[in-house]
C-alpha cells in the first residue's frame, strides 16, 4: 500500500511538471492557432538559463526564476514579433497556413543545434543544497525539488487563469483567441496581443526548464524529452484549455508512475500513446470536456 501511495505521489509531482510544459504549448495554440514545434527548445533554453545563472553566479535556481522568466518573456515576445509575425501576416488569407508550422520546426532544429554548438553534448547537473533532499512522511519519500516544482506549477497555473479571466489584457487575449477578426474590429491590436501571448507562453515554458534544473540533467536535447509528452497532454486536455493541460499532465504522471508498478515501464509508454490515440479518435476535443475558453 505504501508503495502505491509512493507511486501516486511521485506521479503527481512529475505530472504537474508535465502539465506545466503543456501549458505553454496549449496557450499558443489556443490564442494563435499555431503549433509551436520549437517548444522543447524553449524548455531547454530555460534549463540552460537557470543552470548557468546557478553555475556562474551561484544564484539559486528558484531565485533565478526572477531573471529567467522575464528573460524568456522578452525572448518569446521578439521571436513572435520578428520571426513569426511576418510569416503569419503573409498567410492571413491562406486556407491552410503551414508557414508558421515550418518556421517553428526550423527554429527547433536551429536552437537545439545552436545549443549543441555552444555548450557541447555534455550533461550537466546543478548541485544545490536541496538536490537529492527528501522529506519523509511515514514510509513515503517526497523529493524536495520536485515538491517545490509542483507547488510553483499549481500556483502559476492559477495566477495565469485569474489573469486571463479578470484583467483587461487577459480579456483582450481571450477575445483574440476566440475570433481575431472581430477582436481586431473591436480595436484590439491583435499582433501586439500575439506578441504578448507568445511571450507569456515562452515565459512559462522557460520556467519549467528552470524548475527542472535542481533535479534533472541539463543537455541540449533535454527539452525534447519533455516535448513529446507536452503534445500528448495538450491533446488529452483539449487543445487550448488551461485546466485541461494541468489535469492531463497529472493524469499522464499517474499512468506512468502507478501503471509501472503493475507492468514494465516499456508498457506504460505504450499505454500513454494508446490513450492519446483513443482520445483523438473518440473525443478529439479532449477527455475532460472543458469548453474552449477562448
Amino acid at each position: 500500500m505504501e508503495i502505491v501511495m509512493q507511486a501516486v505521489i511521485s506521479g503527481l509531482l512529475m505530472g504537474a511538471v508535465y502539465g506545466l510544459t503543456a501549458l505553454g504549448l496549449t496557450l499558443i495554440f489556443g490564442i494563435m492557432k499555431v503549433i509551436n514545434w520549437a517548444h522543447g527548445s524553449f524548455i531547454m533554453i530555460g534549463m540552460f538559463a537557470g543552470y548557468w545563472l546557478w553555475a556562474l553566479t551561484g544564484i539559486d535556481p528558484y531565485l533565478g526564476l526572477i531573471i529567467v522568466v522575464p528573460f524568456c518573456f522578452v525572448l518569446g515576445y521578439f521571436v513572435q514579433d520578428i520571426l513569426i509575425k511576418p510569416v503569419f501576416k503573409s498567410e492571413v488569407g491562406v486556407r491552410e497556413p503551414i508557414g508558421v508550422l515550418m518556421l517553428t520546426a526550423g527554429l527547433w532544429i536551429f536552437l537545439d543545434n545552436f545549443a549543441l554548438l555552444l555548450f557541447g553534448a555534455f550533461y550537466r547537473t546543478a548541485r544545490t543544497s536541496y538536490t537529492g533532499l527528501t522529506y519523509r512522511i511515514g514510509e513515503i519519500l517526497v523529493s524536495a525539488p520536485r515538491l517545490y516544482a509542483f507547488l510553483i506549477t499549481i500556483g502559476s497555473a492559477y495566477i495565469l487563469y485569474v489573469f486571463l479571466k479578470k484583467t483587461k489584457l487577459g480579456r483582450a487575449i481571450r477575445a483574440t483567441g476566440q475570433d481575431r477578426d472581430t477582436a481586431s474590429l473591436m480595436g484590439i491590436d491583435i499582433y501586439h496581443i500575439y506578441n504578448i501571448s507568445f511571450g507569456i507562453a515562452i515565459a512559462i515554458t522557460g520556467m519549467v526548464g528552470a524548475l527542472l534544473v535542481p533535479f534533472y540533467y541539463v543537455h541540449p536535447s533535454a527539452g525534447f524529452v519533455f516535448d513529446i509528452r507536452a503534445f500528448i497532454i495538450v491533446v488529452l486536455g483539449g487543445l487550448g484549455s488551461i485546466p485541461g493541460a494541468i489535469l492531463g499532465g497529472l493524469l499522464i504522471g499517474l499512468i506512468e508512475s502507478v501503471g509501472a508498478q503493475y507492468m514494465t515501464a516499456t508498457w506504460t509508454q505504450g499505454i500513454i500513446f494508446g490513450v492519446f490515440l483513443a482520445v483523438l479518435y473518440i473525443r478529439p476535443s479532449g477527455m475532460f470536456g472543458f469548453k474552449q475558453e477562448w
Binding site: 550537466r124 547537473t125 519519500l141 508512475s257 509501472a260 508498478q261 515501464a265 506504460t268 509508454q269
Partner: protein
Amino acid sequence: MFHYKTKSSWKKLIAFTTIVSFILISSFVGGAIGAETAKEVKIGNVLPLSGDVAPIGKIGQYARKMAVEEINAAGGIKSLGGAKLKMVYADSRSDSKVGATETERLIFREKVSIITGCYQSGVTYPSTAVAERYKTPFFVPVSVMDKITERGFKYTFRLAAKASWWGRDQFAFIDEMGKKTGKHAETAALIYENTDWGQSTAEGWKEEAPKYGIEIVLDEPYPHTAPDLTPVIIKLKKSEADVALFVSYVADAILLANTIAEMKVDTLAFISSAGGQADPQWLLNTGKNARYMFDIAEWETDLGSPGTKETAEKFYKKYGLVMPAEAVNAYASMYVIADVLERAASTDPEKIREAFTKTHITTGPAMLVPYDVISFDESGQNPNANLVMTQVREVNGKLERVSVWPSTAARKGWQPIWPMPKWEERK
C-alpha cells in the same frame, strides 16, 4: 540505333580487356615484388576508417601502428631473419559486405599472412568466414558477438571476451562476494534499456542467475528516453532485491543513480554493464550518489599489469587521445601476432595457424590486457579473457573508478566494499 549499340559494346569490351590485362599484369608485378622483399610479413587490417564509427576505427589503427613501430624497432621477427611487420589497412565503411570483399582483396591482392579486425561484430562475422574459406588466419581483437568463435572455424582466433561473458562475470562476482562476506545475494533485479543491447544482455543474465541459485524478482525493460525513471526505482525498492543489474545509456544512467539516492534504495550492490555508467559524464552528473556502485569493464587505466601507465601515456602523447579498451586490445594483438610469427618461423598460413593454437603468453607488452594468460582453445577463443569489476570510490577526496575485482587485476590496496553502506547511514 543498332550501330550505336554495337559501338557501345565494343567500348565495353575494350574497357573490360584493359582492366583484366591490367589486373593480370599488376598481379604478376605484385608477386614479383613480394618475392623480392621476403624480409617483411604483411598483416591485413579491416577497420571502419570512414563513417560514423571512424573515430574508433582510427584509434584501433593508431594502437596497431604504435605496437608495430615498437616491434620493428626492436628487430622485427627474429626467426624470420629480422623480418619487419608491414601493415595493410582496408576500410570496411562499417559495412559487412565491404568488410568481406576487402578481406578477400587483402588475401588475393595484398597476399597478407594474417588479417585482424573488424571492430564491429556484424563486420567481423562474415569477414572471418571469408578468411576461413581461403585458409588465412584471422585474429579478432575486440568484436564480442559470441558466434564469431562458435562456428567450428580453424582460422579464426579471438583475444577479447564473448558478449555473454559479461553477464557471466557479473554473476561470478556476485557469488564470490557473497561467499567472501557471508552476505549472499538470493534475489536480483534486472533493469535495462529496452533496445537490442539491453534485451540481449538480460537474456544472458537470465541464464546465469539460476546457476547460482539467484531468483530474479524484477525484470524491467525501460525506454531510455523516458523523462522520469522514478517509477522504475520505486518498483526496484518494492522488489527488495539483493542486487540490481543495469544496462543503460548515459542520460538514463544519470537519472537512475540520482533517483536511487533520492528514493534511498538499499541493496547489497548495484552493478552496471559498461554503458552509460562507464562514460566520464556519468560520474560528473551523479557525484556522491554513484559512490559504491559497481561497473564491469574490459580494461581500466589503473590496472596492475606492468607497463599499463607508460603505454597509456605514450599513446596520449603520440595521438592526443585517451587509450580506450579497444586500443589496448589492438595494441596487445600486434604483440600476440609477433609472438605467433616468432614461433611459426614462416609466413605460411598453415604454420601460422599451428603456432596460434600453441600460444601461451604470460609476460611482455601483450599482457596489457588484464588476463592471466593469452592462449586459444579449440574454437580459437581466448578462454582466459576475463573482465574487470570497478567500483566508484573516494580516492584522496575525489571520486574515481577503482578496479577491485578479480584480485589479480585490482588496484593495489583496494578491496570491493560489499554490501554498500545504507543510504541513511551515510554522511
